[in-house]
């Protein structure tokens, strides 16, 4: 009896540990997926025009990211309260109205903080009202979705966009203007073509390729490590059984 109790307790402990590990892995997978493997801008293609146009300088990139954060999170928070509203058209109209109001306010804030760098973005500061990430995110909120998860997911999406635009802006500002955050830096060459929109798309494609390459390499290494561990375990079991 005692040995059976010990066995059942041991199995329960193992199950609890496995459940914890699964939650940890799922959370880690979600983070990795949204930032890298499922990056909303690079992989899914949301807000690509903002990514391409605003990534000519770090200051413009920061301005767009801040505006996106305010508009996206504000809209999601409001849509969580109206998710039970009847009719998709009412919800969509509400969502666009809310995001437009937030855009007007966020634009003023962003121009005050970032000055001319934000001013160069022109109509893209207004277009944030109907950006793809907010439209799809708001429309996807269902009655059963937990508010915490929706908001955390929204934050991760903006984080993924911020990562992508930061990398692009870093490369384009240095190569195109030989500056970083407006501070001149020593450089041996200057390629003004890098600041053209088509090059932003090219760089985004390269970033996506690099991310996939890195993801495959990491996944391959993890699989090899797991196989090595399991092989060791099997060897141990064989030794025990003689």
């Amino acid at each position: 009896m005692t040995s059976v109790n010990c066995l059942s307790t041991g199995v329960a402990v193992v199950k609890l540990e496995l459940a914890k590990m699964r939650r940890y892995r799922r959370g880690g997978r979600t983070l990795r997926r949204l930032l890298l493997g499922g990056n909303p801008a690079l992989v899914i293609g949301l807000n690509l025009p903002f990514l391409v146009v605003a990534s000519v300088s770090l200051r413009a990139a920061a301005a767009v990211t801040l505006e996106l954060l305010l508009v996206h999170m504000g809209t999601l928070a409001v849509m969580l309260t109206v998710r039970r509203a009847q009719g998709g058209a009412v919800r969509l109209a509400t969502q666009v109205a809310v995001s437009t109001l937030l855009t007007v306010w966020a634009r003023l804030l962003v121009i005050r903080l970032f000055g001319s760098a934000a001013g160069t973005l022109g109509m893209f500061l207004y277009l944030m009202a109907v950006n793809g990430m907010t439209l799809t995110g708001g429309a996807a909120i269902g009655a059963r979705h937990k508010p915490g998860r929706v908001l955390v997911g929204g934050l991760l999406q903006v984080g993924g966009f911020a990562l992508a635009i930061a990398l692009l802006a870093l490369a384009r500002e240095y190569a195109g203007y030989n500056t970083l955050w407006g501070v001149p830096l020593p450089a041996t060459f200057r390629l003004s073509g890098v600041t053209a929109p088509f090059f932003g798309l090219i760089l985004a494609g390269f970033l996506l390729g690099a991310g996939r390459f890195a993801g495959k390499a990491v996944a391959g290494a993890r699989m090899r490590e797991r196989a090595r561990r399991e092989a060791r375990f099997l060897v141990v079991r064989d030794e025990r059984h003689g």
């Binding site: 060459f189 390629l191 003004s192 073509g193 890098v194 053209a196």
Partner: protein, 325 residues
């Protein structure tokens, strides 16, 4: 035994990529010889530098893709040789290197390498250099100026006749000068006689089908005659349009790329006609002095349409022939 009577040559060999590229390298060698005659050793050194950059990129991409491409097919060498010939003799090595890097790393490798690229790498590389370095690529040293291999040159740079045409004027060079390349212009695009000889060589070797360059030049000629840019008008305008800028060079070496052009004969003719019209549109309304490479990139993006249309027409013709029989 069945005997088949055929004209010479009687030895048939399969055409390989290496053979096609080898012919292009040989033709470009003639142009480099003329460039060396006019501008000294800097011309072939620029070519060697560009080839080195393109080959290094090809090897690196081959390594990353784990041997997916064959670097011995000479395609990287052809791209490397093409780029400096489209530029002035006094162009910086950094400019040529930038164009080569863009050509290989952006226009060629990401699409799958030789045989899979959508855009002509040399045209893409030169277009990127124009966007980055702008007007400095359209100022040329005089023909007899021997540029130093290293360091800055003290040449008095001048615009080419293409700029004069763009401004609505008439170039002040006579036909003899234009035939032998005795005027400021891109290193490999000024000597009309040598370019014509290169075209004949490539057509004779079967590397380039005659239909596409012929339809291209014919369209440009007709449009230049109908809508002249220069005050001279008529046949003079045709001569100036064909002889200035990169038109002849591009029509032979860039338009003749077998990868980025349609496959069927009728598609090639249609492609050549459309390319000629687009180039003339760019020349009339474009911002840059030399717009051929931009027009060519636009046409490269539309090759699939020409191929599809060609296949449809060919299948209609085949069906009709079958019905008749």
């Amino acid at each position: 035994m069945k005997l088949i009577q055929q004209p010479a040559p009687h030895i048939r060999v399969a055409q390989t990529t290496r053979g096609v590229m080898g012919d292009a390298v040989a033709a470009l060698g003639f142009l480099y010889a003329m460039a060396y005659y006019y501008h000294g050793p800097r011309a072939p050194v620029l070519g060697l530098g560009s080839v080195a950059v393109c080959l290094a990129c090809d090897v690196a991409c081959n390594f990353i893709t784990r041997g997916g491409h064959n670097i011995r097919d000479l395609s990287a060498i052809v791209t490397g040789l093409l780029l400096p010939l489209m530029m002035p003799a006094t162009v910086g090595y950094g400019v040529v290197a930038t164009a080569g890097l863009f050509a290989m790393l952006v226009a060629k490798a990401p699409f799958g390498g030789t045989g899979h690229n959508v855009f002509n790498p040399a045209a893409a590389g030169f277009s990127f250099a124009v966007v980055c370095f702008g007007g400095s690529l359209f100022l040329y040293p005089p023909p007899a100026f021997k540029a130093p291999v290293w360091g800055p040159s003290d040449a008095v740079l001048a615009a080419s006749p293409a700029f004069t045409l763009r401004m609505g004027g008439t170039p002040g060079y006579d036909i003899t000068d234009m035939l032998v390349g005795n005027y400021p212009g891109p290193m490999g695009a000024t000597n009309i006689l040598v370019l014509a000889a290169c075209l004949l060589y490539l057509v004779f070797r079967g590397t380039v089908r005659w239909s596409m360059p012929f339809s291209f030049f014919a369209t440009v000629g007709v449009l230049a005659w109908l809508f002249p840019r220069s005050a001279a008008g008529g046949l003079s305008s045709v001569g100036f349009e064909l002889a200035t800028g990169l038109l002849l060079f591009g029509g032979i070496f860039l338009l003749g790329d077998p990868v980025t052009t349609p496959k069927r004969e009728m598609s090639k003719v249609a492609f050549g006609i459309t390319a000629g019209a687009v180039v003339m549109l760019f020349r009339h309304f474009g911002r840059q002095e030399e717009e051929l490479t931009f027009a060519l990139l636009l046409m490269n993006a539309a090759v699939w349409g020409f191929d599809m249309a060609g296949e449809r027409v060919a299948s209609i013709i085949r069906r009709r022939k079958r019905k008749e029989h």
